[in-house]
Symmetry: C2
Subunit: 119 residues, 2 copies
């Protein structure tokens, strides 16, 4: 309940974690499935999910031996209140957001564009 700004903002500060949130935007997923598209180890992804969960951004529910991860959409409300104080934002149009997501997915170590290893 007590979404601390510290926790939320630092959770959002990592591109891998933002990519995870973007994936969860489409559908709920098991930990293994979240990890699959990334180059990182599963352990790393599990920890990222822990951070997102502790920040209140994600909800994890264990069913059988698989843990389902889903977005907690209300979590960003409080944070959004804080942010809006620093500017007069017009209501957001979805088109701008779509363009933005494409950008984000291209730049991140995200699911759809596994980047080549560097020398």
């Amino acid at each position: 309940m007590n979404t601390s700004l510290d926790a939320v903002f630092s959770a959002l500060a990592d591109p891998t974690r933002r990519a995870i949130l973007t994936m969860l935007l489409e559908d709920d997923m098991a930990v293994t499935d979240v990890a699959e598209p990334f180059e990182m180890s599963l352990a790393a992804i599990s920890k990222h999910l822990g951070i997102l969960t502790r920040a209140g951004l994600v909800n994890q529910e264990k069913r059988g031996r698989v843990k389902w991860c889903k977005l907690e959409p209300n979590a960003l409300k409080e944070t959004s209140v804080w942010m809006q104080s620093f500017g007069q934002f017009e209501p957001v149009n979805l088109e701008a957001f779509e363009r933005f997501l494409e950008n984000e997915l291209g730049a991140d170590p995200g699911p759809h564009e596994p980047h080549a290893a560097r020398p």
Copy 2:
């Protein structure tokens, strides 16, 4: 111009930096004046301001020997677009924000409540 989400979110993840932004919400300030209410060294605050500036959240303009810091309200626009995708936020009412600010100022190592040194 290129406000990177990484930079913006990690800038916002620090309570000292959020307190600085809150101070600048009231008025533009010189670096020394920003530092004054904090327990931290001026050098530390100078670096925090550098981080906020590199994230595009603050604008620093040198006039004479004093560097004036002011908010860059547009900087959070892009970030806000990203955030709004994860929830349906009603338009924010200022009352909620005021309550929130009080809370934030009480909890932070902020200007109005210098905390006692611990043993």
